[in-house]
């Protein structure tokens, strides 16, 4: 693997990625509960067929037009461009695990025969990976910015400016009534999705997590797992996002998420953690230390087991349990980083070779043990 060039001329795959991307830095407001804030805009080009009706030739043309604009409008200090139809499957999975592309973009249109060759790409702002732009996903452009902690306003400010720069070079499909026109009418209007990645182990242990999910659903919000649509909430990680994009302005969506909804959930989680410490301390200590035992002594670990144990270790650090019980002096950033590195494609990158499922379980346990014991 070679280091990607900022001019986008490589297409050789993601190589020298940041070991701790922005969304795992544990910085910013409410980082004890909110891992990251993510803002996404869906945009389509006027005069270009949407993906479902576009032939391969049409999609190639769209891709080229987008690439010319994206690489020449100074969006970030360095922009790496990856043609995903030319990338190998391991690299595509790596990008999914880093939350830089969706599973759908990794697979290609509809995932059917020949889908892997569908012209599609991603542009990534390096070195922090705060900006990524998927080309030819469900919409021609899916622009995304991410920030550590609860920081939707900063993420929105950045994406708004990126959107303006791209729009200076491309004409978007837009109607006065429906706003920015998207392939699926559920995204039409602002095309804006604001989401936060929440770590909610306290609410799971108190049994109140279902109340939060129900309340979120009643407010018209979507609650998804770690890898978005259709994924489970492994490691007590949940993604919460707005669903309404028509009839509400960007400012209104931002205000509701950043000042009304998310702070309440953050407070609820913090309250749950305090209650667990004061009323159910032994039970929580037991859970945290069992997880710690798994991380430091297990010889075989699945991804979900590792994620579950890392979640409890994170809770143990943030509540002081791990230190008080002589567990370790490991920090939250190391745990956050491990959440990423235990994923299959990252693990194989760390080890430097392809592994089957059983080999991965051994390698994962060995790697985690080494990293946790060194850190503490």
């Amino acid at each position: 693997m070679t280091k990607p060039k900022p001019d986008g001329s490589n297409g050789e795959g993601p190589a020298a990625f940041n070991p701790l991307p922005e969304w795992l830095r544990n910085e910013g407001e409410a980082a004890d509960v909110v891992l990251s804030s993510r803002v996404r805009l869906a945009r389509n080009l006027a005069g270009h067929l949407f993906i479902v009706k576009a032939t391969r030739k049409d999609r190639q043309r769209t891709l080229e037009v987008c690439r010319d604009t994206i690489l020449h409008c100074s969006l970030a200090p360095h922009i790496a461009w990856y043609d995903l139809h030319a990338a190998n499957p391991a690299d595509r999975t790596l990008l999914v695990e880093r939350h830089l592309i969706s599973k759908q973009l990794a697979k290609g249109r509809a995932g059917g025969p020949g889908a892997a060759e569908d012209p599609r790409a991603v542009a990534i702002g390096l070195p922090d990976e705060r900006l990524s732009i998927m080309v030819n996903e469900e919409d021609h452009l899916r622009i995304q910015t991410v920030r550590s902690g609860l920081s939707l306003a900063a993420a929105w400010k950045e994406i708004d400016a990126v959107d303006d720069r791209i729009e200076a070079g491309l004409e978007y499909a837009f109607s006065p009534r429906f706003g920015y026109l998207t392939a699926c009418p559920t995204n039409v209007g602002t095309g804006l999705r604001m989401s936060v990645m929440l770590h909610l182990p306290g609410l799971r242990l108190t049994g109140d997590i279902d109340k939060v999910k129900r309340a979120a659903a009643d407010m018209g919000l979507a609650v998804r797992g770690f890898y978005g649509e259709g994924s489970d909430a492994v490691g007590d990680l949940y993604q919460l996002s707005n669903q309404t994009t028509l009839g509400k302005s960007e400012a209104s969506i931002l205000h509701d998420m950043e000042h009304e909804i998310v702070p309440r959930i953050v407070e609820y989680e913090r309250l749950s953690r305090r209650e667990l410490i004061t009323r159910r301390r032994v039970g929580v200590e037991d859970q945290v230390m069992r997880a710690w035992g798994l991380l430091t002594h297990a010889r075989l670990l699945t991804t979900d087991e590792a994620m579950g144990a890392l979640s409890l270790a994170r809770l143990g650090i943030l509540t002081g349990i791990l230190k008080a019980t002589g567990g370790a002096a490991i920090d939250v950033r190391t745990v956050n980083q491990l959440i990423l590195l235990v994923q299959p494609a990252h693990l194989q990158r760390v080890v430097g070779r392809e592994l089957d499922q059983e080999q991965r379980r051994v390698a994962r346990a060995t790697f985690v043990r080494g990293r946790v014991c060194t850190a503490s």
Binding site: F50, E167, P176, G179, T190, G247, A251, S252
Partner: protein
């Protein structure tokens, strides 16, 4: 919380009312699917099905030139040739012109998907706003003057279309939104 019917974790909640009594079910994905409850995966497609084939819209006309005085109701988009049936199956439109071609059918669908939202409110591409920079001045509605003006224009257009196509419920909602923004529906 466990599923009411098996040992799996309940991830689906369904609330219904029967004979005045509220019945709440907590089910896992598999049991919910077995009972015919949509668990979200195909929610949008199901909504399309309900709206497009329900009794209220049985009269969707299959014409190619628009209906008299109303919003266009076409069976096929003249630009990309996507049929409304194809859209019902995939949930995806084929081009920007599909919004105009299927406007009559999409209106109620979009309104339901966006919790009553009927018209765009917010950012407008600079090309559309004739090169005028967005005004930083906010109004009492929390919108900039530019946003408010754009929204009022869109709402007035929609009100006109709703009245023409005799969609009076939609028209009433749009009128309320216009009043809320301090505009006039005339």
């Amino acid at each position: 919380m466990k599923c009411d019917l098996c040992e799996n974790e309940a991830t689906v909640r369904e609330t219904s009312r029967r004979n005045g009594v509220t019945i709440e079910k907590h089910l896992c994905e598999a049991c919910a699917a077995a009972q015919g409850i949509d668990t979200g995966g195909g929610a949008f497609q199901k909504m399309i099905e309900q709206i497009a084939s329900g009794p209220a819209s049985v009269n969707i006309s299959i014409v190619t030139g628009g209906t008299k005085g109303g919003a266009a109701r076409l069976s096929v988009c003249p630009s990309c040739r996507l049929t409304f049936n194809e859209f019902k199956q995939s949930g995806l439109l084929g081009c920007a012109d599909c919004y105009r071609a299927f406007e009559g059918q999409l209106g109620p669908l979009v309104e339901r998907a966006h919790q009553g939202g009927v018209a765009h409110c917010g950012k407008v591409p600079r090309r559309q706003s004739a090169g005028k920079p967005a005004s930083p001045v906010a109004t009492s509605s929390g919108l900039s003057l530019e946003e408010r003006a754009a929204r009022l224009r869109a709402l007035q257009l929609q009100l006109e279309q709703a009245v023409k196509s005799e969609q009076y419920e939609v028209a009433a909602k749009v009128r309320d939104q216009i009043r809320k923004l301090g505009g006039s529906e005339a």
